[in-house]
Structures are given as C-alpha cells and as structure tokens.
C-alpha cells in the first residue's frame, strides 16, 4: 500500500532529522494519526510557548492532504480558529503530494512567526457557531486564502 509505505518512510525521516522547533511525538511508525509539538520561534509573539498539532492521514494520502488541526489550546492567530482549524492553503487546495508532514509543520510554524500581534480570525465567532452544529472537519470547509506572507 502506497500510503503505508510513504508514511513509514516519512516517519523515519521526521524522527531522524526533525526541522527546528518541531518534534514528532508519535513513536508508532504505522500510526495514521501523528501528534507533533511545535515551539514558538524566539523573537516572535509565540516565543516560549508550545503547541500540539494533530495530523491525520487518510488512505488517499499523499494524494489528498493530511487533516491538520491544533489540539487543546491553539495559538491566537488570525488564521487559526478557536477549535484548532487552520486556514492555510497548502492544507487544502494548494496541497501537493510532493509535500510532506514535516514540510507542513514547518509552514505552520512560519505562519505563526510572521505575525506581530495575537488576534483571532475576524469571523471566528460565526465559524465556531456553524462548526458547533456541523462538527465538520476543516477539509469540509471551502477556504479562501489571501495572504501568502502569513
């Protein structure tokens, strides 16, 4: 199975050479649900804080993107909703099968690093209200992306 083979390779690679500030906490190489810890970069508003990401891989991975959400206390960021959903193009429309779990985590970390102010998304309340009813995962959302710098 292509998915299993690829995840196994990625898992080994991730453990062996983790990107800076990113740690893969899941030890089981056969797991399709990984927990990754990311540490706010120094000299950013999230310096000293750590967050946990959950990456779920479907059997269509890597042709469809992993579902990535923040667990528990997500960072206060204009692209992160209070339920941990992340508005980041590469997790949805812009996903490429040539991307990896590790590169996704790096992108999320750099997304955090690029803001100078902690803010929730402007539509957080309405998004949360709808989500409380639908309980849809973030991939059910039709996202629109605008800002490549964040």
């Amino acid at each position: 199975m292509a998915t299993k083979r690829r995840l196994k390779t990625e898992h080994a690679q991730f453990k062996k050479t983790p990107p800076e500030g990113v740690t893969l906490l899941t030890d089981d190489p056969t797991s399709t649900r990984w927990i990754v810890q990311i540490a706010g970069a120094p000299n950013t508003v999230y310096a000293g804080e750590t967050f946990q990401l959950q990456l779920s891989f479907s059997d269509k991975y890597p042709f469809s993107p992993p579902e990535v959400i923040f667990l528990d206390n997500p960072p206060q960021h204009p692209h992160v909703y209070k339920n941990g959903h992340i508005c980041l193009s590469i997790l949805y429309q812009e996903w490429s099968p040539a991307l990896t779990a590790s590169s996704v985590c790096v992108s999320i970390l750099s997304m955090l690093s690029s803001v100078s102010k902690k803010e929730w998304p402007i539509d957080n309340d309405s998004y949360m209200a709808r989500w409380r009813i639908s309980r849809h995962g973030p991939q059910k959302t039709l996202w629109d992306f605008h800002d490549d710098t964040v």
Binding site: A2, T9, P97, A98, E119, P121, D123, S134, D144, H146
Partner: protein
C-alpha cells in the same frame, strides 16, 4: 372506437412528453415564443430598432442559435489544436495548453504569440517552451512514493519525475474527487499544466475509462464556461450546448425544445428580469432547509452573480468563475481593504440593524407574498396538467386527418396548445413581476392586462380540455380554436409590450427591497438591445 380507446389509454399514461419538445416538429411559427431578447431604454437611437420590427422585442428568434454536443465540441477542439500545432510548429500538448489559456481563440493566440515575449507568454499559460523542455527527470526518485526505479519515472517537461502509479493516483484524485480538468504538475509550487494527451495516455485501459470520461466531461465544461456565448441547456438529460449570437442574449430555445434564459439559466421567464426571478425563487424556497442554508452560507459574487459558498476561512474572496476579488462581509471590492484584511471597516452595527429591520418587515409582508405565490404556483401546476393536452390533441388531429383533413389544416390544434403553454408560463411569471411592483397607475394597467390574459387563457384552456375532443362539427371547432388562440396571443402581446415599454421608458417602480438592484439590471437589459 379503437381510436377512442387509444385516446383514453394515452390520457392515463403519465409519461407525457415534456411540452415544447413535440411542438417543434410541427414547425410552429416564431410568434409562439416569448423572449426578453431585447429591450430598450429611452434613447431614440436604440428605439429605432424596436419600432422597425413591430413585434415585441421579447421574442425568441429561433434561427439565431446553433447547438453543439460535448463530443462535437471536443472534436472541434482537436481540429483547432492540430491547426495551431502545425502553424506554430508546437507539440500538440503545448498547443492545447496555449489555446485553452487564450479561451480557445485562435486569433488571440496567434496575435499574442507573434507579438509577445515568449518567456512571459508560456509562463502565463503555465506551460514549458519547447526549447526549455527537459528530456529527463531532475531526480532519480519519485518524490511522492520514493520509488527509485528510474525507468518508471515520468515527467512533463518541467523535470519533476513521478512514477506511473503515483501519476495515475494523482490524476484520479484531481479528476474524481476534485472534478478538475486543469491539473498542475504534482510538485509543490510547480504550476505547469498536465496536457490532455499525457492524461489520456496515463489513463489508458478499461480500469480508468470512467476517470477519463469524467475528465472529458470537465474539458467540455471548461470550454463552454470559457465562451461567453455558450451555455449548456439546463433541461435534464439534454446534451446540447447553445451557442448564442452574442453574450447578452436573453431567451433562447434549445434544439431539444426547452426555452431558457441565456443569462441566468432558468426556464424562459418573460416578462420578469433575471434579478427579480432570482429574488423571487430565493424567497419561494425560504421555508426549505436548503434555502435557509443557502441564505446563511452563500452570497452571490457581486460581479458575475455566481453563487459562492463559504463556511469559514478568511474574508478575502476571489470568485472562481470571474476572478473578481471582494470582501465577504461588505461585498465591496477587495482593493480598498488593502492590508487590513482581518478587519472590514466597512461593516458596522447600523448596517446589521438595517438588515434585521428588513427581515422583520418581510415577515409582515408574508400575507401579500402568499397571494402572489399561490397564483404563481397555480399556473405552474396548470402547466403540468396541460402537458397532457399535447397527447389528447395529437389524437384529435389524427382523427381529423382520417376524416379527410390535410396535415397542414389540423396544425391549428397543436399550435393552440403551444400558445396555451406559453400564455400559462408568461402568466406564471407575471405574478413575480407584480409582486415586486409598486402600485402606480401603470401597475393598474398591467394588472388589467394580466386579468385579460388570464381570462383568455382560461377560455382557451377550457375549450381545448373540455370541448375539443368531443366536438363533431370540425369546421366550427377550428374556427373557435383559432379565434380563442388569436385572442390569447393578442392579450399576451399586449401584456409583454406594456411591460417592455415600462422597462424602456422607465415607468415601473419597484418594491424597495429590490428597487436599487433593478435599476442596474434594467439598464443592462436595455443596453443589450443595442447588440
């Protein structure tokens, strides 16, 4: 007696042909078809064209459109690709990508090809110039699965190699799950498009037949979408795309017989304009779950009116169809929002209060709405019942021919049914028009016209339904039917002419809820006359 029984059997049959598809065979004349095709504003220059024709400009000219199927469209496209490929000395795949980039316009491609910088032209079209095409992969390994068998790797000129298995899985995901036909190289940040011939060769064999068929459906859709003068016929199971003479075309009649509005894709809705109809249909569906959801989660693109869904994400929207960028909150252009994308300053409490007020007001108007809705629905269901008349009348026509009448001589019956169906349809939509109209003296005239048309329509309907089959004095029958049809057509013309004049001269006053938008649409409608 045999015939009588056949007639009964037919009347019980519920599978009646959809009205309109049959009457085409009888060569009905153009006057039978109403259209908002053209209308005019007050300026004399444009008025000229209207007066010249004499008949209301809201008529379908059946000769104006041509029709094409998806297969023909693809064949046409193959032909065009071959031509471009030989003229510009380009590989087929490259010619195709370039053509698609220029909206399948040979002229545009040729002009730009010879005048523009090729580096930019090819980059914009997301394809590789033949001179820059790589003949082997950059890496010795598939960057999706890690397969390092060099033999199996395949790239499309950009050097990003993937193994066959991964290519197929990637295409399947794009085509089947995402419904795409414009597919980029799987590499992240590589926007080079996979050309049609690569897709076709990768998806060879019966195992992928369904995926490939889906792909070609998408390809045909994309061609139709790219042409402003083309639109799929919305009738269920109709395979035709209608090619209109110009993009502002209003009502058209498909080869299958279905009449629809070229602008909004709804059935022929003379005499109302698309915007009114859209507002009306939205209102009608208000009680259903779907419409509640639509209202809550979708907004029309402010530029092209495509329905856009958003259930989260940032407020900077870009319409996938027309690429217009706007703010979800205020629906204004994105431009003025600048870098303050996280906070739409054009949205404030007083505006939301206004919205709320409007909602309350519409509740109190419910009763009024129901009055119009009831009549709208009533004509709609009458139309469905009257579809049976086509069969009944067909039987009567055969009967008459057996008694020595010529084929041409009996056509009056089916023509009367066509007029009846048309009158019903127009009547149905007059209630939409009336609902959004303010009570002015002109509105009273309109209501009189509407009442007259209604009366004539009912008389024609009653006669055809109750008496026509039983009538033995056939000459008398013909006389009666022709008279009734003529009255009905006359009333119909009067009504449509009056509505049209109102658009032109601007004497209609609309309900506040819709007035502002209507001004724009009436202008647009009037402009289309000049084409």
């Amino acid at each position: 007696m045999d015939d009588e029984e056949t007639f009964m059997a037919m009347s019980d049959d519920e599978e009646f042909p959809v009205g309109g598809s049959d009457d085409e065979d009888f060569g009905e004349d153009n006057d039978d078809v109403m259209v908002d095709d053209d209308d005019d504003d007050g300026d004399d220059e444009a008025m000229f064209g209207v007066e010249e024709s004499g008949a209301p400009t809201l008529l379908v000219d059946e000769t104006q459109c041509t029709f094409i199927t998806a297969d023909e469209l693809i064949a046409q496209q193959v032909h065009l690709i071959k031509e471009i490929s030989s003229v510009l000395q380009l590989p087929h795949g490259t010619a195709r990508v370039l053509l698609e980039h220029f909206g399948w316009s040979k002229e545009q491609l040729m002009e730009r090809y010879w005048t523009e910088d090729h580096d930019k032209l090819f980059a914009d079209a997301r394809c590789i110039q033949p001179k820059d095409m790589k003949d082997q992969c950059d890496e010795d390994m598939c960057s999706i699965c890690g397969n390092d068998n060099k033999e199996e790797l395949l790239q499309i000129g950009c050097g990003h190699g993937f193994c066959h298995e991964c290519w197929v899985a990637y295409l399947e995901e794009k085509i089947l799950s995402q419904g795409k036909q414009s597919i980029e190289c799987p590499e992240y940040n590589c926007n080079i498009l996979v050309d049609e011939s690569t897709v076709t060769s990768l998806l060879k064999g019966p195992a992928h037949a369904e995926t490939l068929a889906r792909y070609y459906e998408r390809v045909a859709d994309a061609i139709v979408d790219s042409k402003k003068t083309m639109r799929w016929c919305p009738a269920p199971d109709c395979k035709f795309a209608v090619i209109a003479p110009h993009s502002k075309c209003k009502m058209v009649k498909c080869k299958c017989g279905f009449e629809f509005c070229f602008q909004c894709g709804q059935e022929n809705h003379t005499p109302v304009l698309c915007l009114m109809l859209k507002a009306w249909l939205k209102k009608c569906a208000d009680d259903s779950e779907t419409s509640n959801w639509l209202q809550a989660h979708t907004k029309p693109c402010p530029k092209c009116a495509s329905v856009i869904e958003k259930n989260g994400g940032c407020n900077h929207m870009s319409c996938r169809k027309c690429k217009h960028e706007f703010c979800w909150i205020c629906l204004g252009d994105w431009e003025p929002h600048g870098s303050s994308w996280f906070n739409c300053t054009r949205f404030n409490d007083s505006e939301t209060a206004v919205v709320r007020e409007k909602v309350d007001a519409s509740r109190s108007l419910l009763k009024r709405y129901l009055f119009y809705f009831d009549r709208f629905k009533n004509h709609q269901s009458s139309r469905q019942f009257e579809e049976k008349l086509v069969k009944a009348v067909d039987w009567k026509m055969k009967q008459m021919q057996k008694q020595g009448w010529g084929w041409v001589e009996v056509q009056f019956l089916i023509q009367a049914v066509a007029t009846l169906q048309q009158a019903r349809r127009v009547l149905q939509y007059t209630y939409v028009f009336a609902y959004y109209l303010k009570k002015t003296p002109q509105c009273l005239i309109f209501e009189e016209n509407q009442a007259d048309l209604q009366m004539q329509t009912e008389r024609l309907s009653e006669y055809l339904e109750q008496r026509a089959a039983k009538m033995d004095d056939l000459h008398n029958l013909k006389q009666q039917v022709m008279n009734l049809r003529a009255y009905c057509e006359h009333r119909l013309q009067k009504l449509v002419e009056h509505v049209e004049e109102g658009y032109k001269v601007g004497f209609w006053e609309y309900d506040e809820k819709i007035a502002e938008e209507m001004v724009g649409q009436v202008d647009e409608f009037n402009e289309s006359l000049e084409l």
